[in-house]
Amino acid sequence: MSKTSETHYGNSFDAIKGGYIPPDKLRISPKLKLHKDISSKLDPITYEVIRHSLWNINEEHGATIQRLSGSPVAMYALDLNPSILTEEGEFVFFGPYMQYMSGVADTQVKWILENRSDNPGIRDGDMFLANDPWVGAAHQQDVMLICPVFHEDQLFCWVTNCLHQYDIGGITPSSFCMSAESAYEEGLLVPPVKIIENGEIRRDIEELYLRSSRKPEAVALDFRAQLAGNNTAKARVEALLKRYGASTVKSVMRKILTDGEQSFLEKMSRLPDGVWRDRSYIECCRPGDRRSHKVMISLEKKGHKLIFRNEGTVDQDGAMNSTYSGWRGSIMVALNQLLCWDQYFAIGGALRHVRFEPTIGSMNCANFPASVSTAPLQAMEISLYPTYNVLGKMIYGDSQMRKDIMCIGGTSQWPATIFRGTDQWGDPFGYVLVDPIGGAIGAFANADGISTGGQSRTPICKLPNIEHTEQTFPLLFLYRKEVVDSGGAGHFRGGLSAESCFIPHGTNSITHDTLSSGNAIPTSTGLMGGYPATVNVYKFHKDSNIKTLMQTSQMPSDISEVGGREEVLALRQQNFLQNPSDVYSVLWTGGGGFGDPFERDPELVRLDVVENMAVSHEAAKEIYGVILNGERLDVRATEIYRKNLKKTRSTHPRTIDLPLRALKGKLLREVTPSLAVRSDPDNKGHASKRWCCMSCATDLGPLSSNYKDACSTLTAPITAANPHVGDYRRYIDDEPLFRQYFCPTCGSLIENEVARVGDDSLRDIELKL
């Protein structure tokens, strides 16, 4: 058994090369005794009291870290998360902070059980430090502290936390190494090491840990915060054991898992089997790169099992990658929010029925030593956000679960502004602008999304006040505003995102790097006919006349008013200077829309134009088909206009020219608001179950086909997707398109699709009824 680790190495999925995937049965040294006793009688009252206590322990754990940790990146983005796991590393509770993080906690714990239980051993009073993304971490900056909790001499459970660190080394200050070609150029890699032994910090290990950081004091303070968090949680779990007995508490943990499992299974039983797919693109994987890189996700439901795959995703390349644990952790975020919210994110039970089948060496399941330090900003978001779409399409089929749908939210592909220099106090600084955490929440299936409602992957987060940012960094913000039309259009509109614009202040100049994607091709796509939100937009005006405007008290509302030379910033541009008269603005993506915008009540569109400043007059007309007379709605003109547009919608070319007929058979399932499955008495066997338009029942082909082939299809330039989408040629060579699929009879918008020239029409839904 002492050779556990050696049997592990050499597999394609070991923690050296491909990323650790725990086996079904863990290989744990017999030196470590596990607590497995459960109590035969557990009454529902005791259960509820202990369950509540466990949730609270986890929350207090998070609160302790929040109070103690100092770094603004951790505090505003709440870039931390605590969790409680069973003795064998199954999730009991998963905190409500940065959702990426706990998604990797279970693999860390399982790896430690397999590889550390013999040597150096796992004992009461120990804690392990780890950040190796091939074992389980989003990226190197996310450092975990993992603490076993013992009952007598048996391992009872684990409490763990993860906290983003300011800087742990690598070629770029802040450790987001956007130009790294491999992990060797990035921050320190730490496979789990015992940093706390017998309740004491091992000075040698701590010094090793701090040695590569540009901000060792900040990292040291944060480490104490993590330590205090684990100590608090551990002490409170121990108090529970003393009060109720270990077997009772363990029974509660088991029941939380089985309850979560039952709830999951019950939901699965209400949904049809099928496959759902989504496709998106990352732009620019290294400085100078002008390609776009395809990212695929598919979700297969087979009975009560869910299987996620990333087949068809490009190979790892440049600095755009994540490891397997990052990919899996991303998917778990959406799983929790859409399927496990009613169990308060107790995902452990559900995970027993979820399989992950990655393609090894792909960009989001990259082999060592790929560069992964920017994973949470790109690779993980492009792994997470499309998961909302595939899960949304799966659960729409059940009328109860439909209300849980959430479209892709804002800050999909974080447009990073990485800057450094000398601050107004004469000290060196290096940082990432946190503003995009303001995000936006995508539309729901029955309500609009939430403007600047944060990033969905962090249910609680806090945008820093401008006064906080200006105190800490040599910046002066000209504006920070919500942006009209930034939310995706739809029957329900996506939340608006915002734009921040600033100049250097109190310093001679600032040195910048950019790091972004989703600037040419929208990544916050809508759902079921909803439109995409804005792309990310960097704007940079060199030698503007801002100083004159300031001297004459004529402040701008928009960067377009400051003059100067407009420069296109590349998506991984390094070391460019911003002088005090250079104005820089960043707009981040908004929330995707849900459903056909023509279904939106024209009065709500009017309010969005005149009251909420959410939709422009132009978009009201072009996208929503709503005619306004000044601030007033022209009801009659709107009706006629929408009718005419719908007629045009129905007349575009079709891939397969099926005869236009309405199916007379029974409605078998609502698939989306505008797509259904009906039986067809005129056909036999497989062909008798057919796709059709939800509103007019027009036949869209047999279930075995792609319904899109029978739709009236409009292929438009990508600029039709959202008013903020500009000329793609500034960033990439491949031409992106906006495809729209309409009912060939009534002109209902069934689905939109973002694709590149040459990419096939995505078969996004396959149903097995």
């Binding site: 259960y47 509540h52 040291a220 029955n446 614009c501 109190g506």
Partner: protein
């Protein structure tokens, strides 16, 4: 001549008046509230007391030395969204501050459903729509230097546009105004020139704090409730003057004291949430009388459970408050609340067959099942009825009749679903609610570095004393006090009557260690001057003003600040630190920091940063004393037993014939051993087995745990 100190609290249903006479006697009266003309109800309640004192109303008013009033007009205006149409003027480019909020959904992180389930949350309906917001060119930087002059023609144009749109109040909040207030003040001046008499709220006059979102929301909220509240207060002040009251009316504030009516008219925001805070004020006063310095105050009503902390005789403060999903700066007594009250609903999750209690509540309407108004889901109150803690025929002194059968049926339905007996289920519902209360108390104490075992729990509110014995025991608390039986139902009015005059002044000046002594002293002096001149305006001479100073300090580069209190300066001494005193601040910071966050949590090598300087100016107008009743020579409380009934005790897992005591008949020195129930006109006190209840000279009931 006898004179009086009077407190009046206006609630949704009743207006309460409490009088403390110069002899230390207490009188209380209740009269129905009279919305929207609340002043009528107030004068009625005062009239009732005058009658009892045998005085005509005018004579009574003349003899009042200090009248302190707690108002909910501002709170109601907000809840009912009936505030003014506010025009907001801010720095150009930053018009969306209140819409962006802090880039979050504006949810309370204790609301788990909203937290984990996005479709259940939305931002608040904006109290200022975007079209009523104007940005003007101007800019100040973090040093307080003007980098863009104020563009006055833009200001005038904006004011005119907003006036033309019919705004009824203005809010003015500019970036960095707390470092350089002149632009804001100039805008206010221009507004007043254009629209004399209109309500104007300026951020620097209300909340000169660092952080534009919370400062701006404070300013806008103040303007939103401003006209309604200030009109109400002006009228009330007039009527009292006419009635013969000769002193300035005092208004309770969320800071834990009272402010002059003039200040409340300018800054009505200070009155928000002052009701629950008065409960803490009352507890603090009573604590002083009985020599109890560390108190956890708990107020359990129908829908919520509010917790406050008093440590070493001083309430715990918070600098950020929360209303209608908005967070705003205000120095206030910290009250933490959870949705756990008598009306909290108990439900079974059918899939997992588990029992959950709250956070949703049946409220007052339809209320618990036993109200018979159509709610069939059991609540905590229904559980209390089934267990026998509450007598359905004598609830709140018989004011409301309850239907025990309906409680029983409701609990029985749940019991069947989880397979327990009705009594076990009822006990379970109570227990889950009690544990949630213990949890929130733990959070408010432990997370502030306090150990609940060092505290006495004060339990008030209708449902509190029923459950206090259990949640206090869970926390390791040794003693529970159910205060002043005679006036328990007018507790907040008592808080108003005993409130000191209090003004809190704050100044932000961010500076890193090593600190400049002269600069620090200059700020302290400015604050002291500010405080004494405000008190002077209120008619208080400086020798009667007590100043206490504190500074919020943090590790440089960190976010979290710790309030460090400065040692008291002598009564006549200037508030000036010595070199040694300044050095000692570092020590005080580390002590406080480690008390909150644990030993070893601070990092001595890091530099420190001072952020907010604060003075609390307090003036106690007179020494108050309450009359104590002599100990009776009675040895047994049995004379107070009004009957017996079956009560289920979960500690003993059985029902027992249990004595019921009439609280009004229990006098000083009497002891009651649990299990027992004490009924008063306002609440029931449940004395669990192995607990003992004692009555003291002031009429407080104390629960002790017998080990």
């Amino acid at each position: 001549m006898e004179h009086y100190q009077v407190g009046v609290d206006i609630g949704g249903t009743f207006t309460d008046c409490v009088v403390i006479t110069s002899k230390g006697e207490l009188l209380a009266a209740k009269s129905p509230s009279t919305p929207p003309a609340f002043a009528n109800g107030m004068l009625n309640a005062m009239g009732l007391v005058a009658e009892r004192l045998g005085l005509d109303f005018e004579e009574f008013c003349k003899r009042i030395k200090l009248l302190t009033h707690g108002t909910t007009v501002g709170t109601n205006t907000l809840i009912q969204r009936r505030g003014s149409k506010v025009g907001l003027i801010t720095t150009k480019g930053h018009e969306d501050i209140i819409h962006i909020m802090r880039g979050s959904r504006g949810i309370d992180s204790r609301n788990l459903n909203q937290l984990v389930h996005f479709p259940e949350s939305q931002k608040p309906v904006p109290i200022v729509p975007k079209r009523y917001i104007r940005g003007v060119s101007e800019r100040v930087d973090c040093n307080g230097d003007v980098v863009v002059e104020l563009n006055e023609s833009e200001v005038l144009a904006s004011v005119d546009e907003l006036l033309a749109m019919g705004v009824e109040a203005f809010a003015v909040c500019l970036l960095w105004s707390f470092k350089y207030p002149h632009h804001e003040l100039r805008i206010a001046e221009l507004i007043r020139q254009r629209a004399p008499g209109i309500f104007v709220s300026c951020s620097v006059e209300l909340a000169p704090k660092w952080g534009e979102y919370e400062r701006l929301t404070a300013t806008v909220l103040n303007a939103y409730i401003g006209p309604v509240t200030s009109n109400y207060l002006k009228q009330l002040d007039q009527r009292l003057k006419l009635a013969g009251y000769r002193h300035p009316l005092q208004i309770t504030s969320c800071g834990g004291g009272s402010i002059s009516v003039d200040r409340a008219i300018q800054a009505p925001l200070l009155t928000l949430d002052s009701g629950p805070v008065s409960g803490v004020t009352a507890s603090k006063f009573l604590g002083q009388l009985i020599g109890c310095e560390n108190i956890i105050t708990t107020d359990m009503g129908g829908t919520s459970f509010d917790v406050g902390i008093i440590y070493k005789g001083r309430p715990a403060y918070n600098s950020i408050a929360n209303v209608a999903q908005y967070e705003y700066f205000i120095p206030k007594v910290d009250i933490q609340a959870i949705g756990s009250g008598g009306g909290s609903l108990a439900r079974v999750d059918l899939l997992t067959r588990t029992l959950r209690v709250g956070p949703d509540s049946a409220g007052a309407d339809p209320g618990p099942a036993c109200y018979g108004k159509g709610n069939l889901t059991p609540t905590v109150t229904d559980a209390d009825v089934v267990l026998g803690y509450i007598d359905p025929d004598n609830f709140l002194g018989g004011r409301i009749k309850l239907d025990r059968a309906k409680s029983f049926e409701a609990v029985e339905r749940v019991a069947k679903e989880i397979g327990l007996s009705v009594l076990e289920t009822a006990a379970g519902i109570a227990k889950i609610a009690e544990f949630k209360m213990a949890d929130i108390i733990r959070k408010t104490t432990v997370e502030k570095g306090f150990d609940p075992r060092d505290f006495t729990v004060f339990a008030f509110g209708g449902a509190g004393p029923v459950h206090a014995g259990v949640f206090s025991r869970e926390l390791g608390v040794q003693r529970v006090l159910i205060p002043l039986n005679r006036i328990a139902s007018t507790w907040c009015a008592f808080g108003a009557a005993t409130a000191d005059m209090l003004h809190v002044h704050e100044q932000v000046d961010i500076q890193s260690s090593p600190f400049n002594l002269a600069h620090v002293n200059k700020i302290l002096m400015q604050l002291a001057n500010h405080a004494t001149s405000q008190m002077k305006q209120d008619g208080v001479i400086s020798s009667k003003v007590h100043l206490s100073f504190s500074i919020d300090i943090r590790h440089r580069g960190q976010i979290n600040e710790v309030e460090v209190e400065l040692p008291a300066f002598g009564a006549r001494a200037k508030p000036q630190l010595t070199k040694a005193g300044l050095d000692n601040l570092n020590q005080l910071f580390y002590e406080r920091y480690e008390a909150i966050y644990g030993k070893g949590s601070s990092y001595g090598n890091a530099r420190l940063e001072m952020v907010t300087f604060r003075v609390r100016a307090r003036s106690a107008t007179q020494e108050l004393e309450l009359k104590r009743s002599p100990k009776k020579r009675q040895t047994s409380a049995s004379a107070a037993i009004s009957g017996h009934r079956q009560v289920y005790w979960s500690d003993l897992s059985k029902s027992m014939r249990t004595p019921i005591y009439n609280g009004a008949l229990l006098s000083n020195g009497l002891l009651v051993d649990g299990p027992a129930i004490i009924e008063t006109t306002d609440t029931n006190i449940v004395v669990q087995p192995k607990q003992q209840l004692r009555v003291d000279a002031l009429g407080n009931f104390e629960l002790h745990f017998v080990s």
